[in-house]
Amino acid sequence: MAAVEAEGAGVDTADQEDDIIKLINMHKWYGQFHVLKNINLFVRPGERIVICGPSGSGKSTLIRCINRLEEHQQGEIIVNGVELTNDLKNIDAIRREVGMVFQHFNLFPHLTVLQNLTLGPIWVRQVPKREAEETAMQYLERVKIPEQAAKYPGQLSGGQQQRVAIARSLCMNPKIMLFDEPTSALDPEMIKEVLDVMVGLAETGMTMLCVTHEMGFAKTVANRVIFMDMGEIIEENDPFEFFDNPQSDRTKLFLSQILHH
């Protein structure tokens, strides 16, 4: 698969009936600024997609549109069979199925690690407290920090905080996980511990959309790499092909920049 076809080259949605995420001819503007242009993206359940591209190309905006942290103005976004519209019920339904991990963790500083993890299950899913805590401890074990349950986020290292953030999303039992540069605020020695958790998560068959420039991660885990520039999807390919044999000039330029720093 080479560079994505031009606008209007009709996308056959009938074939993609069971895709878990569908972005069809989607556009977004910030005021007058056209930040996402004719995005078409189809994700199959269990698929793992890495999104990369230069800073300001719209990667964050794209994944934030998927759980309506940002609103799109044109085209369709269908997640898990529900279309994202202004209907609050749909937004709610989608947010229940989509977990999100942020670059700066965004843990709740006034709550302990355990309370961070149980907040969603208790107040959104109405899980009894005891049960929510048991689940939370299981996930803390999975991200390998059960001993930190009683601490506050401010007392943890960056890598530990990001693992807590991943566990917090997982506690909601989502079908899809979105990652927005989960390792780029971390010191180098902490990146691996977070990536390990994400690789482990990929092995469970979770559908993952991940904005990252970690090439090793992309090659181990991703089914597809998507390259964005200036609000458009420029190239979409298998990870090995993408890094070893980029098609467009912009991709080549971008790769030469991230590889030579």
């Binding site: 759980n67 309506r68 942290l69 709610d92 947010r95 229940r96 989509v98 977990g99 999100m100 942020f102 700066h104 965004n106 843990l107 709740f108 500083p109 006034h110 907040l119 969603g120 107040w123 959104v124 506050y152 986020p153 401010g154 007392q155 917090r168 999303s169 909601m172």
Partner: protein, 381 residues
């Protein structure tokens, strides 16, 4: 040390160590002990020495004379000013002692004063549950605290059936101060939170309403609002409505301080990073859950100093009710000065009232510091 070669590092306290084997040594600089404290805080520079001496003189010339007047040369018993002057040259506390019931209960009927005492007790219990988070059965205690203003209101005013009615023009003194202060504090906090959320919200109509309310109230002196309460409100109410003066004052004081509280809390809301709202949203929390569980706990924590500052202001502003004819302790005190028997013991009266207000306000201030420390979870970054 810029030395990067593998030579043994230079002397530390006359000792040499191989690279990588240097132990932790105690600092040669003194950092504790009373002598260090005096040096650091009182004598660290010539200016500091001068200020220390001046401060010492100020204390020497004010505190002992005051203590002499207030305690050592004071008279605590007596029937009149003459009795006091016969035995002591200092303060005549017998005056305050004789009038204490007036200062505390105002003109509340003598036979019914147990109701005031009982409300004081109930208030203490409510404060215990609200302020002390280790209290047993705190959850129920907090519900009780929410109900307290209404219970106390019923107890103090009466219903004419179970307890006798007492008209509010008999309220006065410390009891009146507490009625206004506690009601103002208890109701202005939730109202202030709602106003702040309204002003911070995305809904234009709600926002406009809150902005107008806050700015209108903040733009007018409290005294003016109290006059409005005592006179003009009649024009706005349907003719013939009987609307208690103290109740009107309570409403005005509450509205007044809620506008300030709202602005303080809005400052706190603005300090919450966008990421916190987004994390709440992405977990699927609805607006009110997100506010209650994620945003407000953090915003209120930041706002504690400002909120308590507003409460202290409110508490002291209760003395303004004197202008519409209600007699708070200050009003009672001034009325007492006219008593020929005691003949103008103004100092004693003002010092007594100052001490009462100081104790209340200083406690609030200390509690706010304690709360800030307790809520600090080490996340400053």
């Amino acid at each position: 040390m810029t030395d990067t070669t593998a030579t043994p590092s230079a002397t530390s306290g006359g000792q040499t160590y191989e690279p990588g084997t240097h132990p932790d040594l105690p600092s040669p600089v003194r950092t504790e002990g009373p002598i260090f404290w005096i040096q650091k805080n009182l004598l660290s520079s010539p200016l500091n020495v001068v200020l220390t001496v001046l401060g010492g003189l100020l204390i020497f010339f004010t505190i002992p004379p005051f203590l002499d007047w207030a305690i050592f040369d004071a008279a605590f018993t007596g029937e009149s000013r003459k009795d006091c002057e016969a035995v002591a040259s200092g303060a005549c506390w017998a005056f305050i002692d004789e009038r204490l019931h007036l200062f505390v209960y105002g003109f509340y009927p003598v036979d019914e004063r147990w109701r005031v005492n009982l409300s004081f007790l109930l208030l203490a219990i409510a404060l215990y549950f609200v302020l002390y988070d280790g209290a047993p059965y705190r959850k129920y205690g907090l519900w009780y605290a929410v109900a307290f203003p209404f219970i106390a209101g019923w107890l103090l005013v009466g219903d004419g059936a179970i307890v006798k009615s007492v008209t509010t023009d008999q309220f006065g003194g410390i009891m009146l101060t507490l009625v206004i202060g506690v009601t103002g504090i208890a109701f202005s906090l939730p109202l202030g939170i709602l106003l702040a959320l309204g002003r911070y919200s995305n809904l234009p109509a709600v926002k406009l309403l809150c902005v107008c309310f806050i700015e209108a109230i903040r733009g007018v002196p409290l005294i003016t609002l109290l006059f409005v309460a005592s006179t003009m409100l009649n024009y706005f109410l349907p003719p013939g409505t009987q609307f208690d003066l103290v109740l009107r004052v309570l409403i005005m004081v509450t509205l007044f301080s809620s506008a300030y509280i709202a602005e303080v809390i809005r400052g706190g809301l603005q300090a919450i990073p966008k990421g916190q709202f987004e994390a709440g949203d992405s977990l699927g929390l609805k607006y009110w859950s997100s506010m209650r569980l994620v945003v407000l706990p953090q915003a209120l924590k930041i706002s504690i100093p400002g909120i308590v500052n507003t409460f202290i202001g409110l508490f002291k502003d209760t003395t303004l009710v004197i202008v519409i004819g209600l007699l708070d302790p200050l009003g009672i005190g001034r009325a007492s000065l006219a008593d020929i028997k005691w003949g103008g013991l103004a100092e004693e009266m003002y010092v007594f009232i100052a001490i009462f207000f100081f104790i209340c306000c200083f406690s609030m201030s200390r509690y706010s510091l304690y709360l800030e420390k307790k809520l600090h979870t080490g996340h400053k970054r």
